[in-house]
């Protein structure tokens, strides 16, 4: 994503808006870019910063060759400040640093750009500090805020930014791109639903961990159907050691969700929609074990488990409860 012309395929509306703004030199003082994971928020941030600094700009397209462009890319530009969460949130000190930075003149030019990733993770203190200079922008300063969760942004901040909403990626197009990048059809299909982020999906494709995760999931399903006494043991011994943190466990629940969703597709005779194409025999076997009623109930239980994970319930307990309920 090194030029607007690449970006326009993924985000036609937002790209068009920004390009027009650059061409007409009507750049606003603050933008809030909102969109799901993998929709290209940071790529747009980089492009916008480059377009603002690049001196050889060609009709809104940055050159990617000059010092300015290259240093923005490597994070070494002295007048571009990129704030990312420090741990779980963006702290007051990080904003204070920014605030200090903006009382000074620029290092090379008088133009300054600051970008804040995951702006929803700002602490209340930090957000209020930020407001102060969002309200009184100094000359030639551009703020770019990025978030996946626009509900968590203070209204007072939102009202001072021009909001750009990015289009979510459609699983079909992601699958297509992945297949073009030599990811097997089966995997591409799975990634396109669980991980609609191209870079991450590509990484996952190479990952031994993920291949094992999938086979564990299939094992759990077969144990649930035949060997009920072993389920808790299996969860303790294998499942929890493999899915060792909350994010991983969340992914495992996603994998389970799509398995049961597949069962419904199978019962509806929509084989082409299946995610786990290669496990067709296992899937068919499972349809004998669970009725449609059961499957719907199980899906509800999985969603409930996902919710509990975000609410800090102990992960092992969540999984144990889930498998016990699934057995009923």
């Amino acid at each position: 994503m090194r030029s607007w012309s690449n970006m326009i395929e993924r985000q036609p509306i937002a790209t068009k808006m920004l390009q027009q703004m650059l061409v007409r030199k009507r750049v606003s003082h603050a933008y809030l870019i909102q969109g799901d994971k993998g929709t290209g928020k940071e790529a747009i941030g980089y492009l916008l910063a480059k377009s603002l600094f690049c001196k050889q700009i060609d009709n809104s397209e940055p050159c990617n060759q000059c010092h300015d462009c290259q240093r923005i890319e490597s994070g070494n530009h002295p007048d571009v400040h990129w704030i990312r969460p420090d741990g779980a949130s963006i702290k007051k000190d990080q904003i204070a640093h920014l605030q200090k930075e903006f009382t000074y003149t620029g290092m090379e030019s008088n133009q300054k750009v600051y970008l804040i990733s995951h702006a929803d993770l700002m602490t209340t203190n930090a957000a209020n500090r930020l407001l102060k200079f969002l309200e009184e922008p100094s000359r030639k300063t551009t703020a770019i805020l990025m978030t996946e969760n626009n509900q968590a942004i203070l209204d007072t901040i939102k009202s001072r930014c021009q909001i750009l909403t990015l289009k979510p990626l459609s699983p079909k197009s992601v699958q297509q791109i992945l297949e073009n990048n030599a990811v097997s059809r089966e995997n591409a299909r799975l990634f396109s639903v669980v991980m609609p982020n191209l870079e991450q999906a590509m990484k996952l494709d190479q990952d031994e961990w993920f291949a094992q995760a999938r086979s564990l999931m299939v094992q759990l399903i077969s144990i649930l159907q035949s060997n009920l006494d072993e389920t808790l043991f299996f969860i303790q011994k294998q499942w929890m050691t493999h899915f060792s943190d909350r994010d991983k466990l969340n992914l495992s629940l996603d994998l389970l969700t799509y398995w049961f969703k597949d069962l419904i597709y199978l019962q509806l005779d929509q084989q082409e929609s299946l995610v786990y194409q290669s496990y067709l025999t296992e899937l068919e076997q499972a349809t004998w074990h669970w009725s449609r009623q059961d499957i719907v109930e199980i899906l509800v239980l999985i969603l409930e488990a996902k919710k509990q994970l975000t609410q800090n319930v102990h992960p092992t307990l969540v999984m144990e409860k889930l498998v016990l309920q699934m057995q009923r």
Binding site: Q70, Q99, T103, S138
Partner: protein
């Protein structure tokens, strides 16, 4: 890039530029030192983005050759290891050369270091400053200017512009003003601008940068030339360039704050007054803002008292040279008063009051260039 250089000279330059390098920078490249070799000499640069220091080692000086075998080029080396490596090298000369992919080789006698460097193009480009826009001051005067004003800058960030010293140029006079809105220090300096055209009339230099500059320049009669660009100011001594970013914004108008007439004028020995207030403040220290009270008595006597109910009280009597005008009772912060008196070098100090609730002025006797203003504290 390739050159051979005297180790001691290189080390001295490194120590200069290291003063600008901080480990807490957000831009990764600024943890490095930039080395630039040209046929004229070697230039080192260090920066923490607020201040940047450049140190230049000429190829040849007074017929003594410092640098040899120069192949021009540049590189950024890590400041964490480079100084220690150079310090501990065995010989008096050191050869430094770079290979492709930004590798630096440091060779001296039998020891050979290969360091990973960084791309010099990533380093911030410092503004090129034109000498025709500059004026010169001797180091002694510059240090004096800094000392007499910088103590009064604000240390809180609520009004960022007040953390700097305002430098203005008006009618052939250079003015330095600093205030934290409770006190003000100003210094004027007549300046001969000959015929060069200066392109600024008011800039605000961060107080921190000036404190740093004061440490770097030696007290001698050599001159420093000062030039200002749109966003940076450059102080240039013989082989050392000190650049600082400026503070953005308009400095408040301060000339109106200074009262032009006085109701009570006191002339007294600086040292005596300073010591008396210092003692009086001992007991006032408990008190939040360190307030002492000054009262004029008959026969040119002054009474200074400090008082904290839980601790006790102190009364100091000072015989002043003269007290003219109305009788006066005034309270003020001992700390501000001490700061102000400390920088006055003349034997006698003149203090002009315009009532107990109005700011008062402190000046050395017979010197109109230094002026300090303090706001009194309201007490009941």
């Amino acid at each position: 890039m390739k050159f051979t250089i005297q180790k001691d000279l290189l080390l001295e330059s490194i120590q200069h530029v290291m003063k600008a390098i901080s480990s807490r920078v957000t831009i990764p490249i600024l943890t490095g030192i930039k080395i630039e070799a040209t046929n004229e000499g070697i230039k080192l640069t260090g920066s923490d983005s607020d201040i940047s220091i450049e140190s230049f080692i000429p190829t040849e000086e007074n017929g003594i050759i410092h640098v040899e075998n120069i192949q021009p080029g540049s590189i950024v080396v890590q400041s964490k290891y480079f100084p220690d490596i150079i310090r501990k090298l065995p010989l008096k000369t050191v050869e430094i050369n770079t290979t492709d992919e930004f590798k630096v080789n440091i060779i001296s006698g039998g020891s050979e270091f290969h360091l990973n460097g960084q791309d010099p193009n990533e380093y911030p480009q410092l503004p090129t400053l034109y000498t025709e826009n500059s004026f010169t001051l001797t180091n002694t005067v510059l240090k004096e200017l800094i000392k007499q004003t910088v103590y009064a800058v604000s240390t809180v960030e609520t009004r960022p512009i007040l953390t700097g010293v305002n430098m203005t140029l008006k009618e052939e006079r250079l003015n330095f003003v600093a205030t934290d809105s409770h006190r003000l220090a100003s210094r004027h300096l007549p300046i001969n601008l000959a015929d060069n055209q200066l392109n600024f009339n008011s800039v605000v230099i961060p107080g921190k940068s000036l404190v740093e500059l004061n440490k770097i320049i030696d007290e001698n009669d050599e001159t420093t030339s000062i030039s200002v660009t749109e966003n940076q100011i450059l102080f240039q001594t013989k082989n050392l360039y000190f650049l600082s970013r400026l503070l953005d914004g308009n400095y408040p108008e301060t000339s109106r704050l200074i009262p032009d007439q006085s109701k009570t004028t006191i002339l007294t020995k600086t040292k005596e007054l300073l010591n008396a207030i210092d003692r009086a403040s001992l007991l006032a220290r408990e008190n939040k803002n360190n307030v002492v009270k000054l009262e004029t008595k008959s026969d040119n006597r002054l009474e200074i008292s400090g008082h904290t109910p839980e601790v006790g009280q102190v009364i100091e009597e000072v015989n002043s040279e003269s007290v003219e005008g109305e009788d006066l009772k005034i309270s003020f912060s001992a700390k501000y008063m001490l700061d102000a008196l400390k920088i006055i070098e003349s034997d006698n100090v003149k203090i002009e009051f315009t009532g107990a609730m109005r700011p008062f002025i402190i000046k050395p006797e017979n010197d109109e260039d230094i002026l300090q203003l303090i706001l009194p504290v309201r007490t009941f």
